[in-house]
Structures are given as structure tokens and as C-alpha cells.
């Protein structure tokens, strides 16, 4: 790529209790690109995403290396500057969409607070933007009056995506955003992510252990094992003709309907 990557991670090392859990030589996401990050549980995918937002310190992890976002070195950035980037320029969505919304607030309260926190000039303006964002993710603006427990999983995940959209985030860190949803809802969310990327040029770091989903959605894929990237490349190529042993195992471990499960 001739353009500068939107997010570039170099030599990222994360240690928890003296143990190396992530040792990432290089990973980058280009503008408007959807990068898949695959790997089994505990391979360090989520930790990598948390490290980008500087959220690993609260769990007692030691982080080293360099994370550059649009020319800004995020490592060692002070808390106030980091807060201005979190949610606003780099947004994150999570595996369990309902429980990642505070149950005691209405969706609209959370939404409007987030917009106000990141610079909406007035409450009325924030409400208007929130309503518009919900329409963009094909949800009724009436959902703003609901509590998270009154949403379905798919609706809640759309709400989370709508927040990133309303703030015009440049990067979306999606940590297993569809693995708690049923297959049809999952397909809707994937379509939504793809069309948002096409319309806004948002970059997406899509973390999943589901190779089929990654093959369908992502432009490139990086496969992680025990904190290291073992293979990286164009998503379809990597997943149809894996060159590395671990990736082959991962691909082979996906059960196929009608075919023998390869082992």
C-alpha cells in the first residue's frame, strides 16, 4: 500500500504477571480496510485491541512497543488525551452487546452522554444526531427510550455500531461482535459493517475465531497463536490455501456440513 496505514502496531509486547502473552512484531490497518484477527481463545486477540485503547493497565498488564494512529503515538499518551481518542476516533464494540450497555440507563441517555462527551454542542443536537445514527443502522429512533434489557442482541449491537457511526470514528475495534448473535442477525451485522466501511471509509479491526465470518467479511487476515502472528495475507487466500501449519489446523477444525471433519 502506498498510503500510510491508519493504525500501525510495531513490536507490541504485553506481559501479565511476568508471562509474555502478546508478542506482535507488526500489524497494520489501512484506511477503509477490514482486517480480520483470527486465532483460538487466549491467543491475545482481545488484549491487542484493548492495548490500542490503553485499557490493559487496569488488569495489571505491562505493555511495551509502539501503536501509531494517524501519526499519533498512543503508547505513553496521557490519560486525558487517550480519553479524547477512545470512543471518539477509535471506537470499540463487544461480544455481548446487551451487557456492554449499562442496564440502569436508557439507550438514549448513554448515547447522548457519549455524543456530549465527545463534543456535541447541545443536548438537542446530540439527540438529533443519535436519531439519525439509529436510522442509518436501520433501527427506529424510538429505541432511544428503551432500556438495554428491552433490546434484542442484534438491536443492541446495532446501537453500539450507531454510536461509533455518530461520532464518525476512524477505526472500529470489533471484538467478536457477532459470536453471541444467531446466524441471521450475524449476517445483518456483517452487511452493516461492510456498507459502513464502503460509505465512510472507516477502518475495522475485526476479531473473531470464526474463520467463515472472516473469509466473508475481511480484506486481509492475520492469524494469531500464543500472542504471535503466524500468518498474514489476503483473507480468501490465507483461508483457502493456508501455508502455515497452525492456520491449516484452524481451517481444518471448522466443521463442514455433509463432509467429513478433517483432523
Amino acid at each position: 500500500m502506498s498510503t500510510q496505514p491508519r493504525l500501525a502496531i510495531e513490536g507490541l509486547q504485553i506481559r501479565i504477571g511476568g508471562r509474555h502473552v502478546v508478542d506482535l512484531a507488526h500489524l497494520h490497518v489501512d484506511p477503509g480496510e477490514i482486517l480480520g484477527l483470527a486465532g483460538e481463545s487466549g491467543s491475545g486477540k482481545s488484549l491487542t485491541a484493548q492495548a490500542v485503547l490503553g485499557l490493559t493497565r487496569t488488569i495489571g498488564a505491562a505493555v511495551d512497543g509502539s501503536i501509531v494512529f494517524e501519526g499519533i503515538e498512543l503508547m505513553g499518551l496521557d490519560e486525558a488525551a487517550m480519553r479524547a481518542i477512545r470512543g471518539r476516533r477509535i471506537a470499540m464494540i463487544f461480544q455481548s452487546p446487551i451487557s456492554s450497555l449499562n442496564p440502569v440507563f436508557r439507550v438514549g441517555d448513554v448515547f447522548v452522554r457519549a455524543l456530549r462527551l465527545h463534543g456535541a454542542p447541545s443536548k438537542a443536537e446530540a439527540v438529533e444526531r443519535a436519531r439519525a445514527a439509529l436510522r442509518e443502522v436501520v433501527l427506529s429512533p424510538e429505541l432511544l427510550d428503551r432500556y438495554p434489557s428491552q433490546l434484542s442482541g442484534g438491536q443492541a449491537q446495532r446501537v453500539s455500531i450507531a454510536m461509533a457511526l455518530a461520532l464518525r470514528s476512524e477505526v472500529l475495534l470489533a471484538d467478536e461482535p457477532t459470536s453471541a448473535l444467531d446466524v441471521t442477525v450475524q449476517a445483518e451485522i456483517l452487511d452493516l459493517l461492510r456498507s459502513l466501511r464502503d460509505e465512510t471509509g472507516m477502518s475495522v479491526l475485526f476479531i473473531s475465531h470464526d474463520l467463515a465470518v472472516i473469509a466473508e467479511l475481511c480484506d486481509r487476515v492475520a492469524v494469531m497463536q500464543r500472542g504471535r502472528i503466524v500468518e498474514e495475507g489476503i483473507a480468501r487466500n490465507v483461508l483457502t490455501t493456508p501455508s502455515e501449519g497452525y492456520t491449516r489446523e484452524l481451517v481444518a477444525s471448522v466443521p463442514r456440513i455433509g463432509g467429513a471433519v478433517a483432523g
Binding site: T58, E79, R86, G87, S96, P103, L117, E142, G154, M163
Partner: protein, 299 residues
């Protein structure tokens, strides 16, 4: 199409709280009696026949009169109307209880929030200090403090509050720690919310339910402690119409002049039971499992 308003659900959950409250008669009883006690305290001057007897008045020729139509609860050793003093007493113990619980919450809750949310060293330091306070039996510690402080209502309040806050720190810490691990806290962090705001806007509201129940149950415990301290001569002093003090002063006349001990004693009992029932009821209201069990048992 995938969006349908749910007015029934909203309406049902709205009336559910009031409905559950109404269905539980003991709670309604506890709540009403508590309310009557509070109102009696507020409007005491309008309710009692001899307001001056609540203070330092003395009527040498009317001492130790048995209950009659003139003095419903009789008079004490200084000729003061016991009924007036018992009603005025509703201004003392419940007020102290309110202040004690307020101080205990103001001190205990933020410490518990910080300990549970941040964990690590902050948690260790706060909880070990809490443990030191909890290592002493509460009444004993309050007694020790009250005995070194001047015997006033303010000292009583402080002495009891010092023994009370660690319980709230412990209670809130456990809640805060479990709430801090829930995904919406990480979500809030990831959308740029500050620690302070997360603590008070996200963790606190989700940790409050057990605190509300505990506080309402504790009202009666504090009232009993206040009375115990006064009874031992370490709290309110004459002529304050404090119930425990009145029981203390009346005990030397007990076999003959039973009304000096009985009426303030009853006031303590009724107040403690009423607030306790209210707290129990709140716990049932907030705990759906308890309500269901009650429903099965009660038909």
C-alpha cells in the same frame, strides 16, 4: 419491522414495584408506622399537651403521678409529662440514626467503590483499614469512643458512625468489584469515560440496591445502639428526652412506677420493629426471587 414498541412491558414493570409493595402488608405496616414516628418527631410541639416538659421544666408537686386522663403516660420523678417526653423523643434517636447512617454512607461508600473498582494496592490498603475497625465489637468501640468524648448527642453520633462505616465499605466493595467486571464498564472505558465518572455514574447506581436495604435495616440497629449508650449514661444527658436515657432514669422507680420505663421502652421497641419491617420489605421488593417464594407460600 424489527422494531415494535413494548408498552405492556414498560407498564407492567412500572406498576410491578408499587404492586409488590402493596401486596406485602407487613411492609405497609412498617412503612406507615415509621412515617408516623417521623411525623410525630417533626410536629411534636403541636401534638403534646406539655411541650415545656420535654426540656428542663420541673413540677415539684406533680412527681410520679400514675397514667391518667391528664397525663396519659404519667409523670416522672421531676413531675414532667412522660407522654410529651416520649413524643419529643422521636426527634432524638431517629435524627441521630439518620445522621449516623448519612456519615457512614458518605465515608463508607466512596471507599468501597474505590476498593472494588480499582482493586490491587488501593483495595488492599482500604480493606485492611476497614478490617481494623471491624476487629472491635461495634458496641464496645462505640462505648470506648463515647466515654472519651464529652457526653453529648454529637459525640454519640460520631462514636456510632465510626463503628458503622466499615460495614458499608465492605458491602459496596463487593458490589463494585462485581460491577467493575461487567462488560458495560469496559464499554464505558472504551468510549472515553473517565474513572471518576464511571465510579459514580456506572458502578454506584448498579451497586446501590443492597445498600438501600442495609441502610433501612440499620435504622433500627442504630436506634437501639443510641438507646444503649444513653442507658449506660454515655449518650444524651438530662433533660434531653432520649428514650434510652428515660429508661435508665426510670429503672430505679421500676417496680412501683412502671410507666417511667415502659413507655419509652415501648417507643424503642416499636420504632426498631417498624424500621426493620420496612427494610425487610424493601429487600423483598428488590429481590424478585424472594417475592416469588412469598407468593407461593402466601397463596
Amino acid at each position: 419491522m424489527n422494531v415494535q414498541p413494548l408498552p405492556e412491558t414498560v407498564a407492567a414493570s412500572g406498576s410491578g414495584l408499587a404492586g409488590r409493595l402493596r401486596s406485602n402488608r407487613l411492609v405497609v405496616f412498617g412503612l406507615s408506622v415509621s412515617l408516623v414516628i417521623v411525623l410525630a418527631g417533626i410536629f411534636a410541639p403541636l401534638l403534646v399537651p406539655y411541650p415545656e416538659d420535654a426540656g428542663g421544666a420541673a413540677h415539684a408537686r406533680e412527681t410520679l403521678i400514675a397514667p391518667s386522663s391528664q397525663h396519659w403516660f404519667g409523670t416522672d420523678q421531676l413531675g414532667r409529662d412522660v407522654f410529651s417526653r416520649v413524643v419529643y423523643g422521636a426527634r432524638v434517636s431517629p435524627l441521630i440514626a439518620f445522621l449516623v447512617l448519612l456519615i457512614a454512607c458518605v465515608v463508607g461508600v466512596p471507599l468501597g467503590l474505590a476498593a472494588g473498582y480499582f482493586g490491587g494496592l488501593i483495595d488492599e490498603v482500604i480493606m485492611r483499614i476497614t478490617d481494623i475497625f471491624l476487629a472491635f465489637p461495634a458496641l464496645l468501640l462505640a462505648l470506648a469512643l463515647a466515654s472519651v468524648l464529652p457526653p453529648t448527642i454529637g459525640s454519640t453520633t460520631i462514636a456510632i458512625a465510626v463503628t458503622w462505616w466499615p460495614w458499608y465499605t465492605r458491602l459496596i466493595r463487593g458490589q463494585a468489584a462485581s460491577v467493575a467486571g461487567r462488560p458495560f464498564v469496559e464499554g464505558a472505558r472504551a468510549s472515553g469515560v473517565s474513572h471518576a465518572r464511571i465510579l459514580f455514574r456506572h458502578v454506584l447506581p448498579n451497586s446501590l440496591t443492597p445498600l438501600i436495604v442495609q441502610v433501612s435495616l440499620d435504622v433500627s440497629a442504630v436506634i437501639l445502639t443510641v438507646s444503649a449508650l444513653s442507658f449506660l449514661g454515655l449518650g444524651a444527658q438530662d433533660p434531653t428526652p432520649e428514650w434510652g436515657l428515660m429508661v435508665n432514669q426510670g429503672q430505679q422507680f421500676f417496680p412501683g412506677q412502671w410507666w417511667l420505663v415502659t413507655f419509652p421502652g415501648m417507643a424503642i421497641l416499636i420504632t426498631a420493629v417498624a424500621f426493620n419491617l420496612m427494610g425487610d420489605g424493601l429487600r423483598d421488593v428488590f429481590d424478585p426471587k424472594m417475592v416469588r417464594r412469598r407468593g407461593v407460600l402466601g397463596g
